[in-house]
Amino acid sequence: MQRREGLAKLTGRERYVDDLPLEGALWGMTVRSPAPRGRVTLVRFRPEVDWSEIVVVDHRDVPAANEILLIERDQPVLAAGYVRHVHEAVLLVAHPSREMARRAARAVDVVVAPEPPALDFRASPRPEQIQYGRDNVLKRLQIAKGDVEQALARAPVVVEGVYETGAQEHVYLETQGMIAWLEDDVLMVKGSMQCPYYVLNALQHALGRDERRVRVIQTPTGGGFGGKEEYPSTIALHAALLALKAGRPVKMVYDRPEDMASTTKRHPSLVRHRTALTTDGRLLAQDIEVVLDGGAYVTLSPVVLSRGIIHAAGPYACDNVRIVGRAMFTNAVPFGAFRGFGAPQTLFALERHMDVIARTLGLDPVELRRRNLLRDGQTTATGQVIRDGTDRIAVLERALALSGYREKQRSHEAFNAAQRSQRRGIGLATFYHGAGFTGGGEVHLNSRLQVAGLPDGRVEVLSANIEMGQGTLTVFTQIAADRLGLAPEEVVIGEPDTARVPNSGPTVASRTTMVVGRLIERAVDDLRNRVGLDDRARGAAVQDAILRWHREHRGERLVGEAVYERPPGISWDEERYQGDAYAAFAWAAYVAEVEVDLRTCTTRVIDFVAVQEVGKVINPTLARGQVQGGVVQGLGWALMEECKVEDGAMINNQLTNYIIPTSVDVPPIRVAFVENPYPHGAQGAKGLGELPIDGPAPAILNAVAAATGADPRAVPLTPERLMQLQSAEFGVRNAE
């Protein structure tokens, strides 16, 4: 099935929040902290603006609780006299003219008496930098399996390594935007978001309105990647506060530089590995330390840390594992959700480390993976028994075959010997990604979904899960239509409107197709039962039954429902961090081929093969698009996306100097799927959205290492960094 809303998007008819006409609206702007930490001693309104025309909101205008509801309640809606990061929101202003609103925001001076900020998450904080708990640790987590110390002590070989990753900015092409207005006594909020119920809950909490007096509607969203998971609650609250004060609709749409500088980014990381092996490369112990920069508020750092450490030991069998993780408070702009959510960071470290191990032991990197990849019956770091029947070696072999790995290695030898200044190399990463929320997360979410039988015989899927390009509308349609034997036009996907749809959970964590899609299947079955049909009824029989039901129950609502049920045999111990971390894992092997110019140290990816086992591919075009897009986003992170920071804030906050890949910077991304249907996912599917961004960085850096002999340990591997890694040996003199 083709993308359902594709034509609307291609013709420009799809309307995003900034496209919606708004009568009598004011434009809202944000006044932000200039300093990373300190007390606000003065807010000065300069006279070049006529303040009688401007609506002004500060923390005192927050009716109920000046808190953005998330994991903790540490983040204020507006700073109340104290700031913890540059760009923290202090004041809001609004005016009918966007230009005047901008001038007003510019005409406010926020004066901060500075206090010593903590700006380096890797360093132990000094006493005067402590701002969270005793030691600025936002969250600690640990995974333990077997006896790591003993295994390390006895091991014939121990290989250590330290790996670092920088922040990454989402660069969704549609910036953050939100509209708020009062309709009778109901606060209406519409905008770009991944999680309408997160926004609803945050509005209710801070504004003291119960759910009958707040309504949140997601508008078509121009990209999210996690950047619109939690941040929209903030901008929604801001728009709402202005709207409530002004008594008029308010629209807030961030300019790109503001969006880049003041919203969340991927957590920077530092990962240390100490790995014990046999001399022939079998893992004996993995001792891993994971440190994340969480920034100035908790946001989702505990969960990012959780996913990060769970993936940190990789898709390998090892009896002794210890993973210790902590997320640090710093006075940086808070970090948050970004596709992969901790796993790209730890999987980069792991997969780069595997190649470092291979080099140290004189082993072939492929063989090292082959010897250690999980076979069915073996356990992960959390003790989860893997028995899904996926042949992970076959996934690896397929990637090697498709990429021409061995032939290319041989041809690279000849190429590199003959070329003066170009070097080619090929690199690999084998990895995995758990689908759905970690551990008991899905149970905790307790997602609910409905499928209504409409009076005209069509069915309507009512869920809070949104379309942001990944294909929700199309896949949901397919699932419902396939299950009922209906044409796609007979399936309506209800607008994610909290007044109409139940809370089927956030659109994150690669759960939409697998988990929520499954809820659709069960709700559809429930609907069928309610009209007296069994699970085999399809097509006209279903529609006739719905029509008949409505004739017999005039004016009533016909709704099939499903509530999340944990798949059987899954159990997770949150206290000891052991057990079945995810109901299902997708598995992958990616191969990158690069050409490095030794003169400029620029790396070009000239071929990329992505092979993954994802249960079942429901829509090949959409699935391929997810992989290709995720790979390119990973490629950008690996080679060119660097956040330059001053006082904990991004200073290269423009698309001219925060560099994402263009069409010329990437090769065709060659994609292949392996299918092994997962019984508890919709149509056998497992989650796919995040997996593709886990593999590119290590595969590419491994390829650069193979090409040049350099040993990169940090992402992004910019040309400047690679040049610093060039030894005199393989520097320009090799270019003879």
Binding site: T11, V171, Y172, L173, R256
Partner: protein, 162 residues
């Protein structure tokens, strides 16, 4: 409103009163209600705001509206949807935010395919940033539109010179 700017928009005459600082992007979106053209960056990097000005694709975020007096402007709203089949089939759009700009540039390339003697499709599309597709769907769609048959399968190779 201090300036009146008369120009040809999507084939028909239009005259609009604008503020001096207005960009063509603002005039199209907010004054004329043509919201198909999008703003992605405001700095001429992303191409989401691409329109045709006197037959050439330009970033409307960098065009002062007063400069289009007497000129010919075409936006996504004027494009023939029948040309969009390959874009739908090949996955050229996901979130859609970059899409109108992509389509404008892509169809312009298709209409000037002699450029492929000196340029590749990817080079000509380099002014349209996309964060979702990884570009394969877009490039494949352009190649199909031009009538070049690709390598098939999982990501077609460019069949162009340059």
């Amino acid at each position: 409103m201090s300036l009146t700017v008369a120009f040809t928009l999507n084939g028909g005459p239009v005259s609009v009163a604008v503020e001096e600082p207005e960009r063509l992007l603002d005039t199209l979106r907010y004054r004329l209600g043509l919201t198909g053209t999008k703003e992605g960056c405001g700095e001429g990097e992303c191409g989401a705001c691409t329109v045709y000005l006197d037959g050439l694709p330009v970033n409307s975020c960098l065009v002062p509206t007063y400069q289009v007096r007497g000129a010919r402007v075409e936006t996504i709203e004027a494009l023939d949807p029948d040309q969009l089949g390959p874009f739908l089939e090949q996955g050229a759009t996901q979130c859609g935010a970059c899409t109108p700009g992509v389509v404008m540039t892509a169809l312009w390339i298709s209409a000037h395919s002699e450029l492929l003697e000196t340029h590749t499709v990817r080079e000509l599309m380099a002014g349209n940033l996309c964060r979702c597709t990884g570009y394969d769907g877009i490039v494949d769609a352009v190649a199909t539109t031009i009538g070049e048959v690709g390598e098939g399968g999982t990501g077609k190779r460019e069949s162009t010179a340059g």
